[in-house]
Amino acid sequence: MKYFLQRIAFYLFTAWAAITLNFFIPRLVPGDPVQSLIAKFRGQLSTEAINSLYVLFGLDDDKGLWAQYIDYWKQLFQGDLGLSFTFFPSPVSEIIGDALPWTVTLVGITTVISFLIGTGLGVFAGWRRGSWTDGLLPVTTFFSSVPYFWLGIIAIYLLTGPDSFFPSSGGFDSALVPAWDQYFIPSAIQHSLLPALTILISSVSGWILSMRNMMVTVSSEDYITVAHAKGLSERRVAVSYAARNALLPNISGFALSLGFIVGGTLLVEIVFSYPGLGFILLQALGAKDYPLMQGIFLVITISVLVANLLADLAYLLLDPRTRKEG
């Protein structure tokens, strides 16, 4: 309990510091949303619109950075993330709310699958060291060194086309309306296959490797020998004794990667025009859209922290040693 409260205090501090940084760093960037908008349209938007845009965005009255910071926290406590500039006047919370489910389902599920597959293969490779599984490593290493986006673009080039099963972009067929029905869901799944595969291929090897290494390390622990000595079945020793213990150190890595779901896969979403948060973040960055940037950073920060907290909890659950009585 004490441990838990300490962790929470620590998380709160980290969150505060990160959010503050998130607030200040983007504001150091020269330029403003209006200029970015003008530049984005490159002549399509007349410079005469500048004034009206300043008024529209509420940037016409100069407020000190400090006052803005105070306002920001006030708003934050009211659950108000402000209005986005890029998608003016949509509230940031709404934009994030629209995009988040996509990212979370695509990247989240993929990360989980990647972790599961990687861990599974890693357990296998670590347990049967010296067998053919050792050959798996160079291949996966190569794939993990390939930049995501490059792989994605190649995949689009090779696998999509007018007659291909794989769509080249988007999260679902544009003719459909998101709904839980038999048209939409298959379409959404179909659209997520290629990006998911890309992420999977380039991320799975990390898990294989770290799990394999942990397996090898754990395999030489005494309690594994004891388990063998007890005459337990190979499966039971491998799974319930070796893998179970080898998994523990990987949990925090997994939690962290869950946290990075949002921020880390920016490029996959861009390449596949996937309507997720990473893609929006890039737009926000390009448009100096502070409220949106901050909103997304907030989501990332909080998700990383929550993931870490969950990892702590999972640790508590999985590793009885961290559980303290009383």
């Binding site: 030489s220 622990e221 005494d222 309690y223 020998t225 004891v226 388990a227 063998h228 000595a229 007890k230 005459g231 337990l232 079945s233 039971r236 319930s240 004794y241 179970r244 213990n245 523990l248 999985l318 590793d319 009885p320 040693r321 559980r323 009585e325």
Partner: protein, 334 residues
């Protein structure tokens, strides 16, 4: 006395080919039913290797390069443990031979409750046993080693070192094996705890009648607790005799050295001689008797010929054997 376990010419190597290190060399040893056989020798002499090698539990790069381990079941014909298939070996392990390792902390899986670790042996060896009776049996074992049944659901780290070691002992006995091998079961504990645990073990042995191979390099402990003692040096057994015989009249110079290395708590202060020199390097074993470079009594055959373990040429030598040129042997013991 009837043998339960006969080790014949066991050889164990670490590594392969030229780099191989032979850690156990032509070891012949017989464990009799119901006895405590002590195995002593300094660090690195191959005690653990021998113990693990018996049931093929050595981790890579350990390889058994030769020998037999004949097990005599109570009712059926003896067989060679090293020739068992994986499946048969799994069934053999723990049911016939259980092992208590040195560090209890490391022997127990930190993430499972001790009840789980106790019952999964039962599950593996007797799948038909009901969960209820498994639990009952586990509880019974814990009680036997003096741990309250309400600690069943504790995790290893919640128990003290002594309790963990007792859990290990309880676990070793849960299938009522014929042989229990204990590799330095008490080195990590302090003397008070050590005595408590060993006392309990002896008591249980009297009740259940299993045989024990007890490994330690603490000779005073060994002399007190075992019936027979075998001394290892450089991968070989150099002497083997009843505990008292060794204590009072060790024949091999190495055994003598060992016995004069530890101070006695009681009785007159005696001179401690110790053993000069340092243990041999397994990779470059001295020729002949591996102890000869450190032996105060070495003479010319020692450096060239390996002495064979055999019954010494002495009047009361019936129950003992030694491998030393000072004590020419009548006949090799098998």
């Amino acid at each position: 006395m009837e043998p339960v376990l006969e080790i014949r010419n066991l050889n164990v190597e670490y590594g392969l080919g030229d780099k191989a290190v032979r850690a156990v060399r032509d070891v012949n040893l017989t464990l009799h039913r119901g006895e405590v056989l002590g195995l002593a020798g300094e660090s690195g002499s191959g005690k653990s290797t021998l113990a693990y090698g018996l049931t093929r539990l050595l981790a890579p790069p350990g390889v058994i390069t030769g020998g037999e381990v004949i097990y005599h079941p109570e009712k059926s014909d003896p067989y060679d443990v090293l020739g068992l298939s994986d499946k048969a070996l799994r069934a053999f392990r723990w049911a016939e031979t259980a092992i208590v390792f040195q560090g209890a902390m490391n022997s127990l899986n930190p993430v499972h409750k001790i009840s789980t670790q106790l019952t999964d042996v039962l599950k593996a060896h007797d799948p038909k046993m009901s969960e209820h009776s498994r639990n009952a049996r586990a509880r019974e074992m814990l009680k036997l080693v003096g741990i309250a049944a309400d600690r069943m659901d504790a995790y290893p780290h919640q128990l003290s070192g002594g309790m963990r070691q007792r859990v290990m002992i309880g676990m070793a006995l849960i299938l009522q094996p014929q042989v229990v091998i204990m590799d330095e079961p008490t080195t990590a504990l302090d003397v008070v705890m050590q005595r408590q645990i060993l006392g309990q073990l002896i008591e249980l042995r009297e009740r259940l009648g299993f045989s024990v191979i007890f490994i330690t390099h603490d000779l005073s402990l060994l002399v007190e607790f075992s019936n027979r003692i075998a001394i290892m040096y450089g991968g070989r057994i150099v002497e083997e005799a009843p505990a008292n015989t060794i204590y009072r009249d060790a024949l091999h110079p190495y055994s003598k050295g060992l016995l004069s290395s530890f101070p006695a708590l009681r009785g007159p202060r005696r001179e401690l001689a110790g053993i000069p020199g340092s243990p041999p390097d397994l990779a470059g074993m001295p020729s002949g008797c591996s102890f000869h470079p450190r032996c105060p009594k070495a003479f010319e055959p020692c450096s060239t010929h390996i002495p064979v373990l055999g019954r010494p040429d002495s009047p009361d030598g019936a129950a003992r054997s030694v491998a030393c040129w000072l004590h020419p042997t009548e006949q090799p013991v098998g």
